[in-house]
Structures are given as C-alpha cells and as structure tokens.
Symmetry: C2
Amino acid sequence: MVRHVVLFSWKDGTGPDKIRDIEQSFAGLAGKIDLIEGFEWGTDISVENIAHGFTHCFLVTFKTKEDRDTYLPHPEHRKFVEMIKPYLNDALVIDYQAK
Amino acid sequence: MVRHVVLFSWKDGTGPDKIRDIEQSFAGLAGKIDLIEGFEWGTDISVENIAHGFTHCFLVTFKTKEDRDTYLPHPEHRKFVEMIKPYLNDALVIDYQAK
C-alpha cells in the first residue's frame, strides 16, 4: 500500500468558498480515477505548532507505486493541479510504502 | 478518527543504525500506549521533489482528539521525543479529523 500525503497552505485572500471548492475537487478525483484506493482529508487540528503553516492534509492511497506513477500525469489530476495553482501558498508531498 | 502525521528529517551525520533505532522506538510506542489505534510509517518515495527535505513519514491514528491529547504528554512519548531530539534536523506535525 502506497500512501501519498499532500499538504497545502493557501495564499492570503483565498476565501472559504474557493477552499471548499478545492477540497471538493480533490475529493472528486477519487470518483474519476479508479486506481485511487482510498481518499481522506482534513484540516489541521494539531496543537504542537509545527505544521509549518500547512492547513490541509490529504491522504491518497494507491495499491502500488506504479498506480501512483499513473495518477500523477492523469489528465484529471493535472487539471486539478492547474486549477489550484493560483491559490497555493505552499505544497508538500511525501509518499511512502506503508510498513 | 484522528490522524497524527509526523514528518522527520535528520541532522547530517545521523547514521542508518541510529535512524533504524528511532524508527523502531517510534513503532514500539504503539505497543506501550494503548490508545494508539493504528501506526504505520515509511520513507519517502515521492517523485515530485516537494518533500521539503523530509525523509520519514509516520501516521499515528487515534479514535478521538482527546486520545491524541493524552498521547502527547504520555511519559513514553516524552521519552521518545527526548531521545530523538539530538538527531532531528526538522519535524512537521499536522493532525486532522479524517473526512
């Protein structure tokens, strides 16, 4: 099982409606791209103050690294990435094979 | 379900034996602290080059935010944090209630 961990923070002025739109668009990918095995997300509720400014965490699960490799250039994923770029302050992605 | 996402990077000179020791100590917490509902981890295999230097991702699952609150100051967790401090280059923690 491969976990694809995605953190976002937003540019100043990105309103709650736009952020909700982005959350729903990301979640919608799971319905459009079959090889997404699992999808969940949430907003930061940590209390340690070391989230590096990130407010959103998305956890996308694939069966294999190859499925992750197919997902990244998938047209629906590319479209999503282009859609959010103007609003992104920062992004972090780390993937791992779950032990 | 509350996910507690922990990313680490190591100071230069932290050898593979020490890193293995830290990985095992973190995993060992799941056996020592009952309220850890799930634990998995892995090293970065992302290909997007936006991992911000982090090499390790740990995903700790709790039933509730209150269990997370109890975990943080737990003596076994505090001991682990003190043990790894000399070797940490950077840490990021983000928690979310899984949607």
